[in-house]
Amino acid sequence: MKLPKVRELSEAVKALLSKPYTSKFPKKPHQPYHNFRGQPIYNQEKCVGCLACEEVCPVEAIAHEDQVDPANPMRIMIHYTDTCIFCGSCEAACIADNEGIKLSTEWDLAFFDRKASQETIEKELQLCEICGQPIACKDHLKWIAEKIGELTYSSPTLYLTRLKSLGIVDENLISASRDYGRSDRVKILCARCRRESTLSTSTK
């Protein structure tokens, strides 16, 4: 019976002499460990708008919205803070060297309005020159063109995008409206219009 008493007493003395264990948290800011998984943040420069992150996200926390206004086509990438589980799947799946979307160590995320709990970036969208539907983000087409190198020149969609980005073809070049002929093939087209224009050379 004596021994436990001595043990407890010695603990009490030790506790009396040592500094308090409790953190000074709100006064002293908290810094998480460097590989803490916090809020994922888009990188406007690196992101190519390929939607790989949306595809792999297990909780549908990433969405996109395409604005097919011909004057200013934009793809808005949305990340919902109120749904994200900070798993890092998006970062692992990102095709832009895992840098298009990256987990930060941001942990202080409390908010009061769920409508505002989202982060967005805008990426320029490439529309099909015939049907006006979105093909992909311009940066994505450039990324593909760079990846496949000289094979780019097998696809007008890709090489036109590439040449435009290099400034060889005028950025503001507006192709003639649909002529149902061979010239349709040398345009930036979506997969469907490409197939149609290839299969039907005759005028409709």
């Binding site: 994200c84 589980i85 942990w107 202080d108 995320l109 409390a110 769920r114 709990s117």
Partner: protein, 141 residues
Amino acid sequence: MSLTLRALLKSPWVFHLSTGSCNNCDIEVLDCLTPRFDIERFGMLLAPSIKHADVLLVTGSCNRKSAIRLKRLYEQAPKPCVVVAIGECSLSRGMFIHSYNCPLPLDKIIPVDAYIPGCPPKPEAIIMGAVKLIQKLKGTL
């Protein structure tokens, strides 16, 4: 600001309710009570009953069985009662958005004042969320 609200903010007692969560958020709330974080420093106390509490902390994805009880608890709570949603499940149901047993998000069942995202949020994030909420109610944020 009403007198009751001012009194409430001096020492908010919290009641914690799990509505079908995975336990992590609950444990992080409990963690706030333990030596490292010790939220009793700020006058916060975990109340044993909703009738003694000023703040209702809700975790979890509000499944059918607990949603009924959640509503009943909110009705029993003395007003003003501040509701804080902790964790992705109670914010938007996160993972369980298509689950047959979780039909509604929390803020469609009872009004929610603050949201603390995280899966689970760090105890620091919970404390920070509480601090922000108090500042907001005081009108300084």
